[in-house]
Structures are given as structure tokens and as C-alpha cells.
Symmetry: C2
Subunit: 180 residues, 2 copies
């Protein structure tokens, strides 16, 4: 794995992108021992309902904390794809929700049934964000599975651990299918 990754998680407000960004950062920063900067910015477009969180993960110190050339993009909605995919660098990898994103025309896009699997297998769509994180972990190795689970369990409400663990399992499985 190369030593610096710039990851953008995007969707609509209420899809848990910021929670996912914080958990990915804590997994890599606290549990995997990497240097990490996690950020969200709010401007006029945030008031329109789009939401994005960014995570930079590096083995080295991070001097400029703004993500510039995105390596790894998650888009949970068509609007998020349309608005936030331009910064994905050539050769970068994208994971998009196959239910909400219909037009994502570029190479190396993995369209996975994130929200659909959340609804059908877990019974609640909100865990689609954790399915997505697990898929990204499986596809890219940017964070270890053990770290991701630890960081997630430290932030989810008590009593929801089983559903959230199940979400991770679904994400690993979907991504293995996409790789294979």
C-alpha cells in the first residue's frame, strides 16, 4: 500500500457520512497507529443537503490537511457523485451505492448494493454507511478490519453492536464479490 491516502465519503445529510469519517479516522489513527486528519467543511452547498467527510491517512506527518487529489471516493447518492467526484484522481477507486447512483461513468467504479443490503439484511438503511466503510477496507486495505470494528463499536449506541457488526460483514462480502 502506498503511504498516503485521501478518502472522501459523500452522500446526503442523514446518511451518516460524518460519523463514518470520524470512525474511519479513529480506526486508522488510534488503532492502526497512522497519522490521520479528518475534516468536514460547510459552505453554501452543505445547506442544500449534500454531505461529505474527508480522511487523509498517512505513514508520514501530514502538513497540508485539505484533501486535494482524492484516491478513494464513496458516493451514496447521485447528487453526491455529481458534486464530489471531479476531484477523484486518475486511477482512483470509487464505491457507489447501486440503488441511488445510476450514472457514474468512469473506470474503476464499484457499484455495490449498500443501502439495499442494509434494508434487506439488517432491516435499517442507516447502517449502509458501515457497509460502505467495510467495503472500502476490503477493497483498499486502507484500514485494518480489527481497527475498523473497534472504532465503530466505540461510537455506536449500546444495544446496536450486533446490527453494526453485521453491516461490516456484509460490506466485506460485497467487496470480495466485486474483487473476485
Amino acid at each position: 500500500m502506498k503511504d498516503k491516502h485521501q478518502i472522501r465519503l459523500s452522500g446526503s445529510g442523514g446518511q451518516g457520512m460524518i460519523t463514518a469519517g470520524v470512525i474511519l479516522a479513529e480506526a486508522a489513527g488510534v488503532h492502526d497507529g497512522k497519522n490521520v486528519v479528518q475534516s468536514q467543511s460547510y459552505g453554501p452547498e452543505a445547506r442544500g443537503g449534500a454531505s461529505k467527510a474527508e480522511v487523509i491517512i498517512s505513514d508520514q506527518e501530514i502538513f497540508f490537511p485539505k484533501a486535494t487529489a482524492i484516491d478513494i471516493l464513496l458516493a451514496m447518492t447521485q447528487e453526491a457523485w455529481d458534486r464530489y467526484s471531479d476531484d477523484l484522481r486518475e486511477g482512483g477507486l470509487a464505491v457507489v451505492d447501486s440503488f441511488y447512483v445510476k450514472a457514474a461513468g468512469r473506470p474503476n467504479v464499484h457499484a455495490l448494493p449498500l443501502s439495499q443490503s442494509a434494508r434487506e439484511e439488517v432491516g435499517i438503511e442507516i447502517v449502509a454507511n458501515f457497509i460502505a466503510l467495510a467495503a472500502i477496507a476490503e477493497l483498499t486495505g486502507v484500514v485494518s478490519k480489527a481497527a475498523l470494528e473497534k472504532a465503530m463499536l466505540a461510537r455506536v449506541p449500546r444495544g446496536t453492536e450486533d446490527k453494526n457488526r453485521k453491516a461490516l460483514e456484509i460490506g466485506y462480502r460485497l467487496a470480495r464479490g466485486a474483487k473476485g
Copy 2:
């Protein structure tokens, strides 16, 4: 109010500093209509248990998203003060927890019973982070009270609204006492 504020919220892991940072950012960015960048970085010191979140709030576009000269500092523990107060600019304002921070020797430091009031008046210490946000709002006007309440209620677990609203009221009251 001048048009740019750099705010650092610091404490130990588990005191809710990152949650507070996200809520302050959403209050100012989504509800008050400001430009906001919210970030946390994780390096070797994060593994030691210290935690900080930063929020930059501006009427203008924010080009450099790293907080440099902090205007407003919250320190919930002595360790957080010792580690993170050096960047507080001259004339900057600090709010510290009077129970955990014993030595914060510089002008313009408001030592308030944040954790103690949370324990005694709400019955749970974890809401001290929201008492702190409310105190900062009252002392600095950096975010409106209506926006802070909206953003907080959108992120707290259902059923905890009353305790969290009470935390805001305590924070406003403590800060009014500190000003008066």
C-alpha cells in the same frame, strides 16, 4: 464580532470533544449559514488518550483549513491544557473545567464547573461537553443559541433531549455569571 474564529476543543478521549466539534460546526455551518471547517488530527499524542477537535468559522471562504492561532480554547483536563494551550493567541479566550484543570495561568481564562454541574445538576458527566459549548456561545457569540440547540438535537440519541437541553441552559447560566 470579527469575521473569523479558530476554536479548539480539547480534553481526554471519552469526553465528547469530537462530537462537540461536529455539533458546533453544523450549528454554525448549516444553521447559522457561515463557512466552517471542522477537523481532528490523530498522531502519536492521540494514542496517549488526549483528544482535540478544531472548528474554524468565517464569513469568508476558508482557504487554509488548519487552525493556527487559536481564538477560543476549551480545555476539559489539565493534560489538554498543558498540551494544547500554547497555540492560544494573545488576547484569546479560554474556558477550562474548574474540577480537572488546576493550573491555567494566563489572562482571560474562565474556569467554570462544567463537569461538576453536569454531575450534580444533570446526573451524568458526559453532557459537560454541551455545557461547555453553551458557555462558549454565551461568552463569544461565535454561534447562535438557536443553531446550537438545533444541531445538538439532531445528533443526540432519542430520549436524551431533555438532559441535553438542560446542559445548554446550565452552560448559558455559568457563562453569564462569569461575564457579570
